[in-house]
């Protein structure tokens, strides 16, 4: 009965969402307080209903209730508890329910914390949220119902896809969805502003925390997904430009642009229309990502859902929301008043530059992702657009942006002084070049581009620190005064610096791994040794073992340096019984920021096995950088002060910064 009650709660959530979608908008039109206040109650009720349904489904998973078809298809009674729970969203139906849960969660947050919002704006925002919720609830109930029953119930489940039975993938989807769906709030704010035909600096102030939160979670989700792919798929790569990865990366790029343009809008009331457009674009890309992954139009390691009826339904949702939003934009954008003016060389100008490049990069990734699909649909030819395309186009686009990043926070609002800023950044440039050369010398023989890349990364870090140092007046005023000023800086300034430092750290990791990693593929017999990254690996032999729902073969390796054994590592291949599916569990050892990565291949001859060994220099800084970015996001989020962009007439850096900051 509890299962059916959960199902009914989901249906009731849809009914509530329909009411929430219809009445508050009417209330905003008629200026009727009762109808508008209904939005908040409905949003909270809707969230509670979906949360109850989600809890019931989780309960069915935990108790291995195979009379629920979804549980039977994706669970197994012998699975460890954590994977029984993560199995809830490790499949199409459950992950859509998670999507809806997070969407209604954000609506409820807007309802609860949006007391300072004008009532009409709040009512409209919640109504738009409810449109999205209604569409997705209907989609879930009609095409992907996780509560469908299976009578008589089978005695055992079919198990979760083994590559998804992993801690990384247990937390990756919730983080990613918090990001994806978080942008729905920005979208709803944009649509509400278009409906009202009114937008101003205060609007940007209200949207800021939502953009910031969504961006931070999306960063975390992408980073986690990348690390999971790195250690679980056994290929040793950390980013594949796989369409599913691109699907999450595009909203991130657009979201980053949104973050920065919303900043300009809040401070200087400029770029209003552009910001609204970006808010629409960002969530549209989230929807597109959902469509790409969930409709099964892609065939890749991630795509575990295939059903054309779903594809058509999601496509309809996509067309309605994206098409509708752009139509509304075309209709209303001209009614919005344009805001403040600024010179090309100014903080605003730098942010526009940032926006131009990020949007171009988004379009580039979008093209590379969709082109094969369009081509296949039109001609039937199957091609894949691989890393070479993205590395060339995306990499080249990013170069000028990365170079410009430290300039942004140092330039003054309205009109800036490029020469002055360059002077101040001289130290950072010098340090960057110094480190780059040192690294080049150290690794000696590395490609010249790597030198430039490392230098750029260090320059990013140095530039961010320069900004903080200049603002606290280090060197100009007495030490204790500088410290006082430093600790008095707005938290968003630290957020900006952290996020930009993170960018530099990630860049250093990417360049180091790309340029200096070594890969050795060799057939090994017990006793043989291989050199990698200055370490010696000796293969000691294989051992058979078993886990709760799999059996495994593990190879043991001893790692030594200069003849002294310093560490050991196990690398295994698993076979999951229920699905008869093999997975690799790479053996990874960390030395500082670098890693030794050992993956087993096929057994070739008696006692001999193919072993792939990678030396990944500085690889951890790729994800370490994203930790900095996330920290920057949270620090900025905690800054509840208002921002005012004081327009400068003379050269001087000003208060609040760019970046993840906002």
């Amino acid at each position: 009965m509890i299962i059916e009650l959960g199902h009914y709660a989901l249906v009731l959530a849809l009914a509530t969402a329909v009411i929430q979608a219809a009445l508050p908008i009417l209330g905003a039109r008629l200026n009727d307080r009762g109808l508008m206040e209904l939005a908040s109650s409905a949003a909270v009720a809707c969230f509670l209903l979906v949360a109850f349904a989600f809890a019931v489904l989780t309960f069915a998973y935990v108790t291995s209730d195979f009379s629920v078809r979804n549980v039977w298809e994706n669970s197994h009674s012998l699975k460890p508890l954590i994977y029984k729970i993560s199995g809830v969203w490790g499949n199409h139906e459950g992950s859509m329910l998670l999507w809806l849960l997070i969407l209604t969660f954000f609506s409820a947050l807007v309802a609860a914390f949006g007391r300072n919002l004008p009532e009409t704006l709040k009512a409209n925002v919640l109504a738009v949220q409810a449109w999205i919720a209604s569409a997705f609830a209907l989609f879930i109930l009609l095409t992907s119902n996780p509560f469908a029953r299976l009578i008589p119930a089978p005695g055992e489940g079919k198990d979760l896809n083994p590559i998804l039975q992993d801690v990384g993938l247990a937390i990756h989807p919730p983080l990613l969805y918090l990001g994806y769906v978080g942008f729905s709030v920005c979208f709803s704010f944009a649509i509400a502003a278009l409906i009202e035909g009114r937008i101003d600096a205060a609007w940007a102030r209200w949207v800021r925390p939502w953009t910031l939160a969504a961006w931070t979670f999306l960063t975390a989700g992408i980073s986690m997904g990348s690390y999971w792919a790195y250690y679980e798929l056994g290929w040793g790569g950390w980013w594949f430009w796989d369409p599913v990865e691109n699907a999450s990366f595009m909203p991130w790029l657009a979201g980053t642009a949104l973050l920065h343009s919303a900043l300009v809008m809040e401070k200087r009331e400029a770029l209003k229309i552009w910001t609204v457009l970006l808010a629409i674009m960002t969530f549209s890309l989230s929807l597109l990502g959902t469509f790409l992954v969930r409709s099964g139009v892609l065939t890749s390691v991630h795509a575990f859902a295939t059903d054309p009826t779903r594809g058509v339904f999601i496509l309809a949702i996509l067309v309605f929301f994206i098409g509708g939003a752009f139509f509304l934009f075309a209709l209303r954008a001209s009614h919005l008043k344009a805001g403040g003016i600024f010179a090309p060389i100014s903080r605003e100008g730098a942010l526009v530059f940032n926006n131009l490049i990020l949007t171009t990069a988004t379009v580039t990734v979008l093209t590379g992702t969709l082109y094969p699909l369009v081509l296949e649909a039109l001609t039937g030819d199957k091609i894949s657009v691989g890393p070479p395309f993205f590395n060339m186009t995306f990499g080249l686009l990013m170069l000028p942006l990365l170079f410009a990043v430290p300039f942004g926070p140092l330039l003054a609002w309205k009109r800036g002084d490029l020469a002055g800023v360059s002077q101040r950044l001289f130290a950072a440039v010098a340090i960057g070049l110094l480190f780059g050369t040192a690294y080049y010398y150290f690794m000696n023989g590395g490609p010249v581009l790597a030198l430039f890349g490392i230098a750029l990364g260090v320059y990013l870090i140095g530039g961010s620190l320069t900004d903080l140092a200049l603002r606290s007046g280090l060197g100009k005023v007495a030490g204790n005064v500088a410290w006082k000023r430093f600790s008095g800086l707005p938290r968003s300034a630290f957020g900006t610096a952290l996020a930009h430092i993170g960018l530099g750290v990630t860049l250093i990791g990417v360049v180091a791994v790309t340029a200096f990693e070594t890969e050795t593929v060799v057939e090994m017999k017990p006793g043989m040794t291989v050199e990698a990254g200055g370490y010696t690996l000796r293969f000691d032999g294989m051992r058979n073992g078993s886990g709760p729902n799999y059996s495994e073969e593990s190879g043991h390796f001893t790692i030594s340096r200069g003849g002294v054994a310093i560490d050991e590592v196990w690398s295994s291949k698993r076979l999951y019984q229920a699905r008869r599916m093999p997975t690799t569990e790479a053996g990874i050892r960390t030395f500082g920021l670098s890693q030794l990565y050992v993956s087993l291949g096929d057994q070739i001859s008696e006692g001999g096995i193919v072993v792939r060994i990678w030396w990944k220099p500085m690889i951890l800084s790729i994800w370490g950088g994203t930790l900095f970015m996330m920290a920057g996001g949270f620090v900025s989020l905690s800054d509840r002060r208002l921002r005012v962009g004081a327009p400068a007439r003379a050269k001087r850096p000003k208060t609040v910064p760019v970046g993840a900051a906002e």
Binding site: E4, V18, L26, N145
Partner: protein, 380 residues
């Protein structure tokens, strides 16, 4: 009943939550710009704080203040232009209440009755294991768990094999019969069951492997009707009509008058003597649902269904020939339908996708050999 009471309570609770703000409504909302004004005031305060703490110079602060003040004025201005809202409209409010009260149960019940399964209880595995009762799947699961630990318990496999067969898990049935025969020794029942499972596995075709088992069963018990039937069917599928007729006739003669298989035997006899084309309705079909459907059909319909399935399989293979299992099934199905020339043609097509010197091609050729299809001239 309890379920419907809970459904009613849940619906009523949500309705109450939604109606409450409508009932409370009375005050006219504050003006839309008053919030903007607040934000701009805060901005001015913030500016002052920044200036006091030395984060911003006085010139800059002055400029910024001027900008914010302009916005503040504009917001206050537009406030004055907004006409004060009239008293809340009673009519609209009433309509909204009715909408809420109707929408919740209407949408809720309609969709739930469409998609839900009211009355089906939750069935946690632990509870089912503790009290299996008549839950066949749990009994199977328990037996499987037992056999996973003690795989040489022949009696267990012997018990499980026919159950697998009945629940449509043909592959598992073949495996279970095989193990039971190896562990406990052959009996006519086990051998017959094994052969039957093999026949169903190969879409109704009596393969040479099945025939061997059947012959062995008959050597143990010459009067085992099931073995006799399938052997006769095998002869018929091979095109040996006279021998098949003799075998069916002998089976009919030795069977008791009320034997349940007699009508089927007689049907085969009739077909063989009548010489009707496309005969030989196979007793095995791909899945449990198909079997159930086929059971309730007349012989003609069944033949139609098989033909339809073969045609759809054929067209699917034409679009995507990279499907070894599909080709094997297509060849088998043609043989079952007594269309040997088509089977040979399918083999030829299949070998285009899987060359004869590759693994897949070899499997197809071996299959053709087993079914007695001419392989000459297809492997040039």
């Amino acid at each position: 009943m309890l379920f419907w009471i809970l459904v009613a309570i849940l619906t009523a609770a949500v309705a109450a939550v939604l109606i409450l703000p409508l009932l409370r409504a009375g005050e006219v909302p504050s003006s839309p710009h008053s919030h903007d004004v607040e934000v701009y005031r805060d901005q001015l305060d913030e500016l002052k704080r920044d200036q006091d703490s030395g984060l911003i110079g006085s010139d800059d602060a002055e400029l910024a203040r001027a900008e914010v003040a302009r916005r503040l004025l504009a917001a206050g201005e537009s406030d004055r232009n907004v006409a004060p809202a009239g008293s809340p409209r009673r009519g609209v409010n009433r309509v909204a209440q009715v909408f809420v009260l109707l929408c919740l149960p209407a949408v809720g019940l309609c969709l739930y009755l469409l998609t839900g399964s009211p009355g089906v209880p939750a069935q946690p595995l632990a509870a089912r294991l503790a009290d299996p009762n008549t839950d066949i799947n749990i009994l199977i699961a328990k037996a499987e768990n037992h056999l996973a630990v003690k795989p040489d318990d022949g009696a267990g496999w012997d018990l499980l094999a026919p159950i697998y067969m009945r629940t449509g898990r043909v592959e598992d049935a073949v495996d279970a019969y095989d193990r039971a025969i190896r562990l406990l020794g052959p009996t006519p029942a086990r051998l017959g069951g094994y052969a039957e499972a093999l026949v169903v596995q190969s879409d109704g075709l009596v393969t040479t492997k099945a025939q061997e088992a059947l012959r062995q069963a008959l050597s143990l018990d010459p009067n085992d009707p099931r073995s006799e039937f399938y052997l006769a069917l095998g002869l018929k599928q091979e095109g040996k009509k006279a021998e098949a007729l003799t075998a069916f006739n002998r089976l009919a003669a030795t069977s008791p008058a009320d034997a349940p298989w007699l009508p089927l035997v007689k049907q085969h006899v009739a077909e063989l003597t009548g010489g009707g084309a496309g005969s030989g309705a196979a007793p095995g079909n791909p899945s449990a649902e198909d079997v159930a459907a086929a059971d309730s059909m007349s012989a003609g319909d069944r033949q139609e269904m098989i033909r339809g399935m073969v045609e759809s399989l054929e067209s699917r293979l034409k679009e995507n020939p990279d499907n070894l299992e599909g080709w094997a099934r297509l060849i088998r199905s043609h043989v079952v339908l007594d269309q040997r020339d088509k089977a040979a043609a399918a083999l030829k097509e299949g070998l285009k996708a899987f060359p004869a010197n590759g693994d897949g091609g070899k499997q197809l050729l071996a299959l053709a050999h087993e079914l007695g299809i001419a392989t000459d001239g297809v492997t040039q």
